[in-house]
Symmetry: none
Subunit: 129 residues, 4 copies
DNA sequence: GTGGTCTAGACCACG
DNA sequence: GTGGTCTAGACCACA
C-alpha cells in the first residue's frame, strides 16, 4: 500500500503523509476507511512505530484522519471526498517538475523520458496485479 | 543552472550533489570546466555558503571535482567523460519510479501522466531558451 | 518562564503548548521574539528534548511559531499581536470552570475560594518579583 | 454529579477518582452511600464501562469505596467522614495554582480573575439548582 | 550552537 | 488489540 524509502533523504513520516494524502485524494482511501495500524505498518516497513505514529498524528491535526479511542485510525469525513482529475494532476506536478529537472540535466530527449515513464507505469501495473 | 528546493525535505547539499553529477554525466559540465563559486551559488539561491561548500567537498572526495588553490572548483578529468543514453536513463530511473508511485496512488492514467510530462518538458525548454 | 508538571496527567508537550499560546496572547512573547532553545528548556525542566521539540513543532504547524534554520525558534509575525482583556479572560475560562467544579464538589463557599485565589495570586506575584 | 472532559488530556478514570474523593471529603457522599452504577455512569457520559470500573476499582484499593456482591459500590466507613474547611481548601490548592499560572501568563489582574471566578461560581450554583 | 529525525523500548489509556 | 507519551541517545542539516 505504501512505498517508504529511508534512503531518499525525505523524512519517512513525510513520505507516508504524502502518500496517505494521495490515496485519500484519489478515493482509494474513502472517508470512514481504516488505516493500517501503527504497529502493522511499522513492522511491514521495518520502521519504528513512533515514526508511523508521528505521520498519523500530524494528519489528524490536519483534519484528514480521525482517531477512535482504542481503534484504528480512520479517514475523516471529508467535505470533498474525491478530487477530480485535474486536481490530482496538480498534486502530481512537483514529482513531474523534479523529473523534468533531472531529465534536462541529463540531456535526455522528451521522447526517451516519456517512453521510459510509460514502460515503468506498465511494469508497475503488472506487478501490482 | 541548479534548482534547489529547501522545502522538499531532501538536504540541500544532496540536491546540489545529485545535480552536479547529472550535468557531468550529460557532458553539460565537461572535464576542466569551472563550477560557480561557493559565494555566487550561495547568494543566488539564498543558501548558506557552508552548505554549498559541503556539497563541493563531498564531490571532490568522490573524485568528480578538483580543487585548485585560489581558483574555482573544476570538473575532474574523468575516465568516462560522458555517459551514453542508457546510462543516463538509468540515472533518471529513481525520479521515474517516484513519479509512477505518485501517479498510481492518485489513480491517474499513464496517458494523462505522459501528457503532463511532455507539456512540462516543453515548457521548461521554452523557459530555459 | 514555564511551569511543567509531569504528574498532572496532561501531556508535558501540551502543557508547554498551552503556556506558549498564553504568553503570546498576552504579549509577553512578542512576534519575532526567540523562544528558549529546545535543549535549554529540556535541561531546565529535566525533560527529554524531544518532548519540547514536539511542542515547538506542533506550534509551528499551527502557525504560531516560525523556524529559522540553525537558529532558535521565533514567535511568528501575527495578524493579531496581542489579545484584549476579554479575549484573554476567555482563554482562562477552562481553568476557572475546573476550579468551580472542584470547589462545589468540596462544598466550599465562593468567598473562601475567591480569598484563597487572591492570596495565591499575591504570593506568586511576590515570588516572581 | 460528575464532570468528565475527555479532551482535557487528563485520563478519564483519574478525573472521576478525584471527583469522588472531593465529594466524599465534603460529605456530599456519606459513608454507606451508593455510587452510580458503572453502567449508568458509562452511559451518561458516553464512556467505556471499563474506564468507570477502573476508577472504582482503584478507589476500592485505596479504601475509599467498598464493593458489595451484586450491589452498587458504597462509600466506605471512614475514620474521618468529613474534612474541615481548611482541609478542603488544601485539596483545592492544585486547581488554584493552575489558575494562577494561567492568569499570570495571560497578564490578567487579580481583580479580573477573582471577578470572573465569582461569576462562574454563581452561574454554576444557579444551573445546579 | 540551533532544530530534525529516527531508534529501541517502556509504560499508559482505552476497547 | 488500538494509539499516546516519554526517555535516552545517536546522527544529520544548517549557521
Amino acid at each position: 500500500m505504501f512505498t517508504l524509502n529511508p534512503a531518499s533523504g525525505v523524512p519517512i513520516y513525510r513520505q507516508l503523509m504524502e502518500q496517505v494524502r494521495r490515496l485519500i485524494s484519489s478515493g482509494q482511501l474513502r472517508p470512514g476507511a481504516a488505516l493500517p495500524s501503527v504497529r502493522d505498518l511499522a513492522l511491514a516497513h521495518a520502521v519504528n512505530p513512533m515514526t508511523i505514529s508521528k505521520a498519523y498524528g500530524l494528519l489528524e491535526a490536519e483534519g484528514l484522519l480521525e482517531r477512535q479511542r482504542g481503534k484504528a485510525m480512520l479517514v475523516a469525513a471529508q467535505p470533498k471526498p474525491r478530487e477530480n482529475r485535474s486536481e490530482r494532476l496538480a498534486r502530481l506536478q512537483p514529482a513531474i517538475e523534479q523529473l523534468v529537472t533531472a531529465a534536462r540535466q541529463l540531456e535526455l530527449a522528451p521522447d526517451d523520458v516519456a517512453q521510459a515513464l510509460r514502460r515503468a507505469m506498465e511494469k508497475r501495473e503488472k506487478d501490482d496485479a
